[in-house]
Amino acid sequence: MLAYALAGFAVIMLASCLRIFLFSLVPIAAATGWLRPATIDGHLRMLDLVLGFDGFALRLWLVRIGGYQGVPPIYGSLIFAMAKAWALERSRILLRSALSGALLAIPLYLFVPAGPEYAFSNLPETSGALVPASWIQPRN
């Protein structure tokens, strides 16, 4: 059983490096970029500022206090958290909701393209200018 677990872990890590699913989405993303070249990053950034929450400032503050190194591991640890949740209860509802959430999110990602990492040239500088969206620009 341990051998199967280790083999599965190796396959998942390999798949993460190869970005197989991202490559499979390239044609769809390219089509969306061609149909909808304009992104709504500027509006979303303004909305954030209106709500009083500046993500760029948060990142700058984390970099300044030296806490930013802890952020990418949290972001990347989702797969382990999901594995732990599945191992705890093996809930069918969790399985279904995770799968349906991912499927429902695809149209949102494609038709409401946004993501400061890809849209602003010198993130997290607050004076960062919007990068013109190309048809192959990564969309989040």
Binding site: F53, G55, R96, S100, A105, A114, P124
Partner: protein, 126 residues
Amino acid sequence: MYFTWALLLALNVHDRRWRWAFIIYAVLMAFATVACGEHYFIDVIVAIPFSFAGRTITQSRTFASAYAYTAKAEIDPIMPYRRMGAFRIQALTIEPPSRRKETDEIRRLPELEQPARFDSYINPRY
């Protein structure tokens, strides 16, 4: 999506200690997605009702029954053909006498003594 998944974990885990751990993890994930520059804060706000809506949809009776059918079909690949009633796959398979005897013995066992199948790994309570 990352925050949505983290929130779904917190919503679906019933163990109290682990639920608190996953709630804290979801809050950290919300900050991480914004700090990494992957999303805006408004995306995180929108993800909350999105997560609840997704969970509610998957809890609905119609969705659950449809999923149960597909899950059973995955476990038993010839189940759709059995439902069609066109023919029995088992009748077409040729087994050696020794193997046939072994299979018949397994079939005669009471239901509780049947070997564990894949679906027994899924918790039926949730």
